[in-house]
């Protein structure tokens, strides 16, 4: 029997597949996770009340705060002995984000990664080089594993400076670059500084992940590196980069709707929005065993396009990722929540938080966080050394906890504060 490709199944078949997987996911979540059982009970519902995909709307959302409150294992739906990988990341709250995987979850996730590589035109003949900053260690590992699963020759991310990365890229005849957009831009900046031309490289494609890619940057990279571009979208809470991928039609991201159910809702009211309308992406897992998520609010702003793509895939598309609906910002692909950042600043400054502000800035193509701190009475010192030490301390604290590069600027107190 030839199994039809899940990427091209017709809408009716996809809908039935989603419904049967949704019903079994909700049954497992209800029977095995206290948090979800309480949620169902509070809503006066049982899993069998979900008789259609639209019924899912009757269930409440799951938020990052819920994940934090159930730290570390409260949302796992299988016994720990069935978990083969426990992934932690800084998260956007004070507690790390914890996601568990069973062996079957890992197999699924490799299959989804292979999907995104295939759509990007990557094959086992390719030499794939990774330049992904250490702050995105989980994405780095996931994407490398996916490329190895595909059978490509993988050059894992190393702690090389960008000039050496370029040397590797040229000498090893790298054909595919996997990087964050800021890392790719920085690479291009260094390439130009060293007066290297794309013709000296064997690079054909770049897969850009983990951070937004404005149109201008896309064109700059396409031309500067002389490559075709592909992209992947994902969130750490739901299998990292395996959620959605671009195709040759370059028209949004194909959402792996056979394993995850997407909704777009009004971020204020939570009301589901029709296709084409922009709102917050909400995700329900349909296949993952260890860590089911029911109506998880991603915080990412997008719109859904269910029409078939010129590439032939029928998986619905996210038309793009148009920023955040909340205050979380991305620094080189790493998500930073203002509350979390403030807590870290307070920690670094010995429990005191002076007036402050911040913004994401660019340094040679790389994204950094500029933080302005007001030297109030507590922080003030007339010794330059002490002030330099303060900046260093904050910088290191943020690097250690979030993996981001920060530039600390001190400002004297003015009459306005």
């Amino acid at each position: 029997m030839h199994e039809p490709s899940p990427e091209t199944v017709d809408a009716a078949e996809l809908e039935l597949l989603q419904l049967e997987r949704l019903q079994s996911t909700l049954t497992r979540a209800y029977r095995q996770v206290k948090f979800y059982r309480r949620r169902f009970d509070a809503a006066g519902m049982r899993p069998e009340d979900i008789r259609s995909l639209a019924d899912l709307r009757r269930l409440p959302f799951t938020t990052r705060e819920d994940l934090s409150e159930n730290y570390p294992y409260g949302l796992f739906a299988v016994p720990l002995r069935d978990i083969v990988r426990i992934v932690s990341s800084p998260g956007t709250t004070e507690r790390p984000l914890v996601v568990g995987y069973t062996a079957q979850d890992l197999r699924l996730w490799l299959e989804l990664l292979a999907r995104l590589y295939r759509a990007a035109g990557v094959t086992r003949e390719d030499i794939v080089q990774f330049i992904i900053p250490p702050g995105l260690a989980n994405w780095r590992r996931d994407l490398q594993a996916g490329a190895e699963h595909l059978g490509a020759s993988v050059i894992p991310a190393a702690t090389l400076n960008y000039a050496k990365e370029l040397m590797v890229m040229r000498d090893y005849k790298t054909s595919v670059l996997v990087a964050t957009p800021p890392a790719a831009r920085h690479l291009l900046t260094v390439m130009r500084a060293l007066e290297l031309s794309p013709a000296e490289f064997s690079l054909k494609r770049a897969l850009l992940v983990a951070a937004p890619l404005p149109q201008a940057v896309r064109e700059e990279l396409r031309e500067g590196l002389g490559v075709s571009l592909a992209r992947a979208y994902g969130i750490t809470e739901v299998m990292g980069p395996g959620l959605a991928f671009s195709c040759e039609a370059e028209s949004g991201f194909h959402f792996n709707a056979d394993h995850f159910y997407p909704e777009v809702v009004d971020p204020e009211s939570g009301r589901p929005l029709p296709p084409g309308e922009e709102g917050e992406l909400v995700i329900t897992t349909l296949s993952t065993l260890a860590f089911p998520l029911v109506r998880f609010r991603s915080g990412d702003r997008t719109a859904l396009d269910p029409t078939p793509c010129p590439c032939g895939r029928t998986l619905p598309r996210l038309t793009g990722i148009f920023g955040r609906v909340d205050a979380i910002c991305s620094v080189g692909g790493i998500k930073v929540h203002p509350e979390h950042l403030r807590a870290l600043l307070r920690e670094a400054l010995g429990g005191h938080l002076p007036p402050h502000s911040w913004q994401v800035a660019e340094e040679d193509g790389l994204e950094v966080l500029d933080i302005h701190l007001v030297l109030d009475e507590t922080l003030f010192s007339d010794e330059v050394k002490a002030l330099e030490g303060l900046c260093r301390l904050v910088r290191r604290h943020l690097q250690d906890h979030l993996g981001i590069t920060a530039r600390i600027k001190l400002r004297e107190m003015t009459s306005e504060g």
Partner: protein
């Protein structure tokens, strides 16, 4: 080929199926595994219209909800019930003839005779026992006959209820091998089994049913490797229950 949505069935106050949704594609062997009392047999009986049911069942696009059990065979669906349900005094030949009753006078007799020959190729033992009363045959032979009887109706979808029940491992293997051969010939099979390992070995996909609800589904090879399935249905990993973790 077969699509089921929100199927429910009860025996009085006891809910046996609490909203089951599943599908079987043409040419697949799909296994339905689960413990005793999970609702497996009820599901097959509900498809066949032998119990009161609610929900949707479509076969090749046509709803089966208003189809009487006796009409189902002519639509291309045959059920091999649990416990074989043979007529003890009737011979093998009689059973095969009975299996083809819905084709009687609708197709030339030679076509039915040719089908019988094909059955004998599949189950040579039945040819050897042609005149033997079914009640005197071994459990394995009876199971073969029950399947053969269903095949004589030329079904497109075969519903099989616990074909391995009470059979020796070697006989179970022979039955499963035959099912795999039938699938290669284009038959679609929905196989209900308590012997999860045997079923998962030949199935393409499988569903795990627990107290009337599907709790897991996936490729059969993935479920064979799944630790929860292993513990609950494959009788392995006894140590995991007793190692104090």
């Amino acid at each position: 080929m077969l699509q089921i949505r929100n199927l429910t069935a009860s025996y009085g106050p006891v809910t046996a199926l609490a909203g089951v949704t599943l599908h079987v594609r043409e040419g697949e062997i799909v296994a339905l595994i689960g413990a005793n009392g999970a609702g497996k047999t009820t599901l097959l009986n509900a498809i066949a219209g032998l119990v009161r049911r609610e929900g949707e069942i479509t076969f090749t696009g046509r709803s089966l909800m208003t189809v009487a059990p006796e009409e189902l065979v002519s639509l291309g669906v045959a059920l091999v019930p649990e416990g074989r349900q043979l007529f003890a005094p009737l011979s093998v030949a009689d059973h095969l003839l009975l299996g083809a009753y819905c084709r009687h006078r609708r197709v030339p007799a030679r076509e039915i005779a040719a089908d019988r020959e094909r059955i004998f190729q599949l189950f040579p033992r039945l040819q050897e026992r042609l005149e033997q009363p079914a009640g005197t045959m071994s459990g394995g032979e009876q199971q073969m006959l029950a399947i053969a009887r269903a095949l004589m109706a030329r079904p497109r979808l075969l519903l099989l209820d616990e074909p391995s029940l009470g059979l020796a491992p070697l006989v179970v293997e022979a039955i499963m091998t035959t099912l795999a051969r039938l699938r290669k010939q284009g038959l679609t099979v929905l196989l209900v089994e308590q012997n999860a390992r045997a079923a998962l070995k030949i199935a393409d996909r499988a569903y795990v049913l627990e107290t009337g609800r599907i709790i897991l589904s996936g490729a059969a090879r993935d479920l064979l490797a799944d630790r929860q399935v292993t513990r609950a249905y494959l009788g392995r990993d006894y140590k995991e229950f007793t190692d104090g973790r």
